[in-house]
Structure formats: structure tokens, C-alpha cells
Symmetry: C2
Subunit: 328 residues, 2 copies
């Protein structure tokens, strides 16, 4: 296995945007101050977290190729991270998760009901903030992305424990629930910075493939990662009835046996779950899944070639390596 | 008590906008057709319901004073109703309601999780649709309204069973959770139709006061209405720990006894609940609450005077009477 990048590596990758990212953090802190103490406390809890801030980082880096009013791309980066936070809060109510980014989730502290309403508030805050950019096309794309995100979660939710779902279904789902937000992070930044169409398309393609690769690696780590670093038990997706790329690869390679289907038909059976997980987390299967993630990163790398070399472009390239080599 | 208006009355009030409202219904039906059968079925279930469509009606009527591209106000009316539907779906997850508008709720059919995600999808659909109007100020106001709506529900949720809440808290809450949406229904319509500032302000004031009166009457009917017509048992708000205008009036008039506080401290005690309800639903208290609703309708009526008389204005005036005299 490749050497896991230092946690400091992400800091190195973000070097060209360090000041701007700090201003985005400041904006998030400010936005937690609302005239409603209960809500203010909750917003501080979720806005000031230990997340990697990858999506706003993509926005800031992707806006760095053309000189423009930097305030606008910082607003966009803030809105993008707010949207991401809102989806995590709603996802935690669906998953009944107790911990996220090392902190207790709102739904475990106050119940699903409060979490739903706080999530709604943050969704709306993000949409309101995007209006400050003053570009209707960008606003529209942002709202469409919120539709994609909820669509993706819905698709995932209703396909649980369905052994008949297809690889195409999987790719549709991970586009909707993950890559769509990465894609708008890059594309909107390019648009806001006044980039020519060719660069907007390139940055969209880069961010989309990066997002797909990111989710694929997440899905691999669910089988292969260290539960303590990764924050979830091994095979957690499968335990929840979710079929991901490693599972599809394993079933394609299997000699006809389908322990996944057996487990889905008897979903409290830990022995069947363990058998299915064991079948899936073989080195050759993990390797094939990593190949797919790498293939997408190659496409993303290729897309960047139409943009002149710069520290921002270097960082976007390093992000591709980081996404594949990370262990969390 | 005033004679309850016929269910047909609302049809008469909507006469100037009948065709336009039919087109809005058509848009809602079309928007249920998405490339995801499970979601499509759910959307049809909630879009094609027996709601009064009061908010879109306000939008259509309020846009009728100035000639403009009617497509835009119809889009706005559709978005407004979608937003209202999304809030109802999320509210039903919080309230654990089984029925809404004579149909089973999504949360009782498929669980809270699905209801949260479908609600998210509809919120996002409404925000995307508003972008088609192409007016950033209107888009922003719409997103801010979504913030108000979730803020209001949060305030209500965390103040349940708190006997120390104030009448000011109540008015802040009902502005956020109800009147804000009425206000944007009228104000945005005026803006979209190119009305001069004076008319925009007048229609905003009208819609805001109408919305406040609407909620106050809802809160009165919760004590006084026929459970079968109204759809909820008598004193349902109080049973859920929610203090509304009739409760505040009753406590102000009481001779020091506070059965509401006693009930809040022993909230499974049906006898205490019944005592509190009995104290509140006295004719003089109901009457004082209605007076507040009527006072606001008078302000709304006055606001309309700056707008030239027309069938649309007549209908907006009739809506004021309807809101106060209705029994559901």
C-alpha cells in the first residue's frame, strides 16, 4: 500500500490559498452568530469543526486562474462548505450517527427533529449567501446541486438491501450524493472568476472526476481502512445494505456464490455479513477498485492540462494524489 | 359566531385568477414527473392535494395590478406552494402526524428519514424554480424566507412546555413560521409585476398582516374548532406544549392560577390538560383573540387602499374576511 500522506500534507496542498481559506473559516464563525442563542451554539458546534474543507479549497484554487473580485469566490467557498455541512447533518439523522468529525452529532445531542430543522436553516443560509455573488447562473447551479444531493441520498436509502441493484445505479448515486457538490465547487469558481468556457469545462471535469474518485476511495476504505482512523467499523456500508464498487467487483469475480444476497435476505446475521465482507476485502479486489479511482484521477489530471501551470494548478494535481493515497 | 363561509367561497374569491391558478396546478403536476419512479409517486402524492392554495393565490392576485410577463408570477406562485409543501413535510416529521390535507403523510408511510430527504428535494426544487424568474432580489428574499421558516419551527420546538415564554416570543415565532411566507407571497408578486415601491410595500404589509391573522385564527380554532372539520383534537397545541394567543390571554385574565404551568410540569396528566383547555376556551377569551386577528385584518385592509380598486383587490379584501370567519 502507498504510504499514507501526513495530515500536514493537506496543509501543504492548501498553501496557495492559506489566507483565503482562513477568511472562509472566519466567515463560517461569523455566520454562527445569530440572534437566537440555542441556534447560535449549535451552529458554532458544526461550523467550527475539524473537517478537511476540501470542497471550499477546490473553489478557492479553481478561482485562482483569473483575476477577479476575490470576495465573490470566498463567499462561494463559504456557501459550498455550508451546503456540505447541512447535508452531513441531514445524513446523520438518516444514519443515526453519534459522531462526525470527532464531535457529537446534532441528532444524537438533541434528536432528529432538531437536526432536521437546523439542517434546513443551514441549507437556506447557504442559498441566501450565494445570492450575494449576484450571478443567477451560479445560484441556479447551486440550487440544482441541492436537488442532486437529496436525490442521491434518496436513491441510496431506497436501494438498501436490494441485491439486484446495478453498477450503473451505483455510479448514478455517487454522482448525485458526492460528485455533484465537488463539480459545482470547481465549476462555479471558474465561472465567478470570469474564466473562458474552455477553462470552466476543464475545471468542471476535473472536479467531477475528483469527486467520483473521492467517493470510490471512501467506499474502499469502508472495507480496508483502519476503523479507528476512518471512524466507522469495517464493512459498515454493507452492514447498512449499501452496495459499493468493491462489492460489485467481488460479485463479478465470484464463482456464482453471492454471500451479499444471502446477507441482505437475513440482515441481522453477523456471520453472513462477515462472510460477505471477507469475500470483498481481498487484495485483488481492493486493487481493482483503486484502479478505477486512479483512472478517474488520470482523466482529471488530463483536464487540467488546458490550464496554464501555476501554484493553484499544482495544488489541484496534488489533491488528486492525496484523494487516492489517503487513509481517512 | 359568524356563519362559516361555504367551501365554495374560496372558489368565488379566486375567480379573477381561476385560469392562472389552474396553470399553477398544472405546473405542480408536471414537476412531479421526475426520472425516478419512487420519488415521482411521492411527489404526485403531495403536489396534487386538496390544499387551499392560499399562498399562490395571494401571489397571483397581488401580481394582477400591473401588466407584466404573467409566466413569471405563475412560476413564483408555483415555487411558493412548493416551499409551503416542503415545510409541511418536514413539520410532519417533527409532529409525527399521520394525516395532512386528508392524505397520509410521507413520514407515516415511509418513515421520517424518507420524509426529510423528500422535503429537502422539494425545498431545492422551489429554489431552483425561482431562479427562472431571473430577479436576484426576489431569489434572495425567497431563500431568506426559508431561513425564517426553519427558524420559526426551531423556536417553537425548543420553547415547548416552557411556561415562561412571552407573548413577544409567540409573535416572533408566528411571524417566522407562518407570516413570513405570506409576506413573500405578496411582496415578490408585486416586485415581479413591476409595481412601484409604494404598492410593493402595501402588498407586503397586507400579506404580512393576513399571515399573522391566519395563524392567530388557526391557534383559536385549535381550541374552538370542530375536531372533525379542523382535523386535530381540541387543545392539540397545548397538549404538545405550545403556548398560543388564547393561552396568553387566558393567563393574563386569570386570578393567579396557572393550570398551564401545572400541566407543563406534569405533561402526561390528561386531567390537568383538560383543566387548562377549559380555562382557555371561554367565549370572552376566544372573542379577545378574534379581536386581535380582526385588528390585523383592518391594518391589511387599510394597506390595500393605496392600490386602485379592481377585481384582484376585491378578492384580496374578501380573503381577509374569509381568514377570520373560516372554521378550518
Amino acid at each position: 500500500m502507498a504510504v499514507s500522506p501526513d495530515r500536514e500534507t493537506i496543509g501543504y496542498i492548501y498553501a496557495p490559498i492559506q489566507e483565503r481559506l482562513a477568511r472562509v473559516e472566519g466567515r463560517l464563525r461569523d455566520m454562527a452568530n445569530v440572534n437566537f442563542p440555542f441556534l447560535s451554539d449549535l451552529l458554532s458546534h458544526v461550523y467550527c469543526s475539524s473537517g478537511k474543507r476540501m470542497r471550499p479549497a477546490i473553489t478557492l484554487l479553481a478561482s485562482g486562474f483569473h483575476s477577479h473580485d476575490e470576495l465573490k469566490s470566498e463567499i462561494m467557498a463559504t456557501a459550498i462548505e455550508l451546503l456540505h455541512i447541512a447535508t452531513l447533518i441531514h445524513d446523520d439523522t438518516v444514519d443515526e450517527s453519534d459522531f462526525r468529525r470527532g464531535r457529537t452529532t446534532i441528532s444524537s445531542m438533541y434528536g432528529k427533529d432538531i437536526a432536521v430543522l437546523v439542517g434546513d436553516y443551514i441549507f437556506a443560509s447557504s442559498a441566501t449567501l450565494v445570492c450575494d455573488i449576484g450571478h443567477i447562473g451560479v445560484i441556479r447551479k447551486f440550487s440544482e446541486t441541492i436537488m442532486d444531493l437529496s436525490n442521491g441520498e434518496l436513491r441510496e436509502r431506497i436501494s438498501t438491501y436490494d441485491p439486484e441493484q446495478s453498477l450503473d445505479d451505483y455510479y448514478t448515486r455517487i454522482y448525485s450524493k458526492t460528485a455533484s457538490l465537488f463539480a459545482v465547487s470547481g465549476e462555479s469558481a471558474a465561472t465567478i472568476s470570469g474564466a473562458p468556457d474552455e477553462h470552466v469545462a476543464a475545471l468542471r471535469e476535473y472536479s467531477y472526476e475528483l469527486g467520483m474518485a473521492f467517493q470510490i476511495v471512501d467506499d474502499i476504505l469502508d472495507f480496508e481502512g483502519d476503523p479507528e482512523e476512518f471512524g466507522k467499523p469495517v464493512g459498515s456500508d454493507l452492514a447498512h445494505g449499501i452496495m459499493t464498487l468493491p462489492t460489485f467487483i467481488a460479485l463479478e469475480r465470484s464463482n456464482g456464490s453471492n454471500p451479499v444476497k444471502s446477507f441482505f435476505e437475513d440482515r441481522h446475521n453477523d456471520k453472513l455479513l462477515a462472510e460477505a465482507v471477507e469475500m470483498i476485502r481481498q487484495p485483488e479486489i481492493m486493487s481493482e477498485a483503486y484502479s478505477e479511482a486512479s483512472r478517474r484521477c488520470d482523466i482529471a489530471h488530463q483536464a487540467l492540462k488546458s490550464i496554464p501551470r501555476s501554484p493553484s494548478r499544482d495544488s489541484l494535481e496534488l489533491l488528486l494524489d492525496y484523494v487516492v493515497r489517503r487513509r481517512w
